[in-house]
Amino acid sequence: MKRSYLGVLALSAVLMLNIVFTQMVVHQYYYENYAITILYACVNILLFPIAILIYKKEKNRGGGNGYEK
């Protein structure tokens, strides 16, 4: 039962980036750099489909125990 934690790690990284970009959005908004705010917000939204993709790719990786397919 060899597990693949690649997906978990990748999704954790995505979530970390989410936190960072959300923080950036809020800060840049208060610094009144509105174009940069929108840029960061778009990146944050784009991270969601990426997370879904990683999930779909990784959900059946490893952890197979023979009878549960």
Binding site: V8, N18, I38, I45, L47, F48, I52, G63, Y67
Partner: protein, 174 residues
């Protein structure tokens, strides 16, 4: 029996292996990844309003211009005097100060500490809040003493035809 055990995994022929207890694997790897992906979705949705307000600012909808309002005639205010008025609505009290011959400044005079009305003290050349003795610099609106930490919101004024008009409230600066 022997050849069956050599096949890995051998075909199960008992009927006990697939009995699952409730919530046996409440947070397995897959469930955890699902949670992470969902959290990414929550973050994506939560940044939407920030993007929306930023877009609104970029399109200039935030810089609202109110109808110009006459505050006073130039001849009625001596240098160093102040006039109270209301701008942009009748509930927003404001103050206009004539600092020099051609320099007028106006602020919304609700103190940024607890919104007491700030008034102009001609002798000390300062705006003072009576509640906690907060002081504001007249030429910039920046707090100089007392509890307030944020500047008073400035009002843009325009002199036209011997009268002073309030044009718009300046952007609040955090």
């Amino acid at each position: 029996m022997n050849d069956r055990n050599n096949k890995i995994p051998f075909d199960e022929d008992n009927y006990t292996h697939n009995i699952n207890r409730n919530n046996e694997r409440l947070l397995d790897r897959r469930g955890f990844m699902k949670t992470l992906a969902g959290a990414a979705g929550v973050f994506a949705v939560s940044t939407l309003p920030w993007g929306a307000v930023a877009a609104k600012e970029l399109l200039g909808l935030g810089d609202k211009e109110y109808p110009h309002q006459k505050i006073a005639d130039v001849k009625d205010i001596a240098v160093g005097d102040s006039v109270k008025f209301h701008f942009p609505s009748e509930h927003d009290s404001a103050i206009l100060i004539r600092l020099s011959e051609n320099k007028y400044v106006a602020y919304q005079n609700a103190c940024t500490h607890l919104r007491c009305p700030v008034y102009w003290v001609k002798e000390e050349k300062e705006m003072i809040c009576p509640c906690h003795h907060g002081k504001f610099d007249a030429s910039t609106g920046v707090p100089t003493a007392g509890p307030p930490r944020r500047p008073l919101p400035g009002i843009e004024v325009k002199v036209e035809g011997g009268a002073i008009f309030a044009v718009r409230v300046k952007r609040y600066e955090a």
